[in-house]
Symmetry: C2
Amino acid sequence: MSHDDEPPAARRRFLAQGAAAAAALLAGGQARSDEAAPPGIPEWMKTPGADVGSQTYGLPSRFEAGVIRNVPKGLPQYISASSRTPLQDLDGILTPNGLFYERHHGGIPDIDPARHRLMIHGLVDRPLVLTMDDLRRFPSESHIYFLECSGNPGFEAIKGRTASDLVGLVSCAEWTGVRLATVLAEAGLRPEARWVVAEGADSAAMTRSIPIAKCLDDALLVYSQNGERLRPQQGYPLRVLLPGFEGNMSVKWLRRLNVTAEPAYSREETAKYTDLMPDGTARQFTFVMEAKSIVTRPSGTQRIAPGFHEITGLAWSGRGRIRDVQVSTDAGRTWQDAALQAPVLSRALTRFRLPWTWDGTPTTIASRAIDETGYVQPSFSDLTAVRGLKSFYHNNAVVPWRIAADGEVVNGYA
Amino acid sequence: MSHDDEPPAARRRFLAQGAAAAAALLAGGQARSDEAAPPGIPEWMKTPGADVGSQTYGLPSRFEAGVIRNVPKGLPQYISASSRTPLQDLDGILTPNGLFYERHHGGIPDIDPARHRLMIHGLVDRPLVLTMDDLRRFPSESHIYFLECSGNPGFEAIKGRTASDLVGLVSCAEWTGVRLATVLAEAGLRPEARWVVAEGADSAAMTRSIPIAKCLDDALLVYSQNGERLRPQQGYPLRVLLPGFEGNMSVKWLRRLNVTAEPAYSREETAKYTDLMPDGTARQFTFVMEAKSIVTRPSGTQRIAPGFHEITGLAWSGRGRIRDVQVSTDAGRTWQDAALQAPVLSRALTRFRLPWTWDGTPTTIASRAIDETGYVQPSFSDLTAVRGLKSFYHNNAVVPWRIAADGEVVNGYA
């Protein structure tokens, strides 16, 4: 179901039919006769504004100075840390590059693209060292994909206040680059090739092993994000992009692809980024980010008045398209299908919306995503029944928001 | 035809079949055995990089400082002027907000959204004055649409050097807002309503008349662009967005909608933004931007070497989807279908690509767009045969790029 399929007339009827909704819209604002009190001429119309080109690279309004990446306070160091996208302040499905979430393991390197090289070696017929100019001469593709850290939010972090605190380690962009398969074909894979070990040019030499099937499927080597070149925080000048896989496998500042028969068993796939199960064993190589969703509006720290509201949020799945998002406004007793904004793209964020009139009674709202494989986003109790509480990564549980009598919205887990 | 339909194997065969292409790829770069000369450890791996959150709102790399809006030099004033998107430096279909083209008629106002009001009056049952909070409570939609100035490039401006000089007054973004039809229904249109006169809160009080049919169709009142709130240059906190219509009708800093029986005949629809025809009459109210395209790479001021290249560019139509883009590499004698990047969206920029091996012979390359109505982008001579040379606006002619023996790319009109 998509807004595109719904004529404006249907929504006009929706507003007109619901007397409470229409009244609430007006009561919430300052609607009144313009004869009675037309707005005056504001001071910004009385003198010329700023010049064209006063910002050759533009920035947000000073009135949006609070819409920034959510950086945790008081950490012992910030070279291995993360900052989160302010999901509750954003609309649509795209994340502006300036607000894309960060997770670095050795800080953000300052790389000169003219001096950057990508080396491809190991089980290949023709080892290659490629410049950025070389890479830009290969056939290119563009796709809109989400990227999510597998520690989003972790199992103990569900005590956060905002949507950003809870699941702000997910963002979405249009990526442009060359298929990894194309570049590997140029090098010539040997028959025994099973893994490609990617290494970043940061001070952590971030290293992850990628199964060859993914490398030959939809993996990209990307140099652009949302139209312009990658930002330094996102791997400038080159990163791997593995659609639907946990974020840190999409190695940033990519300098080396070592084609191997075995994985590297690097720190980030042994000591970290594994899932400790109830029986004490560690689940390794959990690549795909399962279906997930969150209501971003209304959400934690916001306050609502009784009357009409549009409940809206984001859903995504590492396995493909979102088929449905169900929203509950009665603490999970009943669920309604939300409208999905077209086009619904595979492994992109998907915007959902549901009209709702709040009667002022305290309640809990939540969303759950269902992807094209039929997988249903679990409740936290269903998830922990399988996974236990020793895990840190891969928590895709439903996020409930509790709404108090005064309209304050708080984390339903807190 | 879309890359999504084409398995990677096809492209592998493409590279392998074309010995010249593969050889050129290698010759153009520094491909060599890694045993012979593996890249050393760059200095940016030897010390920790910048902290997470060192930019709470991120910016491009310092090595991309030249990718900025293209501001004309030496104008007598800059409050009524334009800056252009650097199309030749961008990939994909989206324009980052910082590089979105500008056209202002009284400078850029600095508007406090808490004090901004939208007044809806005239031929309505219930005049309204709405705050931004009111507008954000209406049901919302998000769509990816291009926006183009009708003076892009003008008829005399075809002597520019870069793709940005020529047609840089076009950009594309994901817009979020409420359908204008929904808000007009709230006010209640009277039967005699035929036009809505939109007024901006800039010092020019930019005023344009919008036919009621467009207002009740896909017109939006938008507050967000590419996920975040509109930038001041794009109408913060509120603008009209009329998909496919000439840019200045999408009035920025929107403060007033006056519902009328007749258009306003404002300066911007009489003295300006009309098309002077060969017989001396002026064609007025030319709303829809017709189909157009441009090759962005290789394009003016770039220099190419013989060998494999991907020809790529952008196509768009105010009437709907792009059906086909044809590319000529022999000065218009023959045309080949380019691949279109999926999803091809209605009234969005569409990225096209064609693999090409340049043999070093001087030639001219160009693209022409065909939209879903069957309309074919005209040559400049076909266009001027109808329109003459007295026009300024609505030039959608084919742009040829001439490639010299040394690989320099120059404007084919120059």
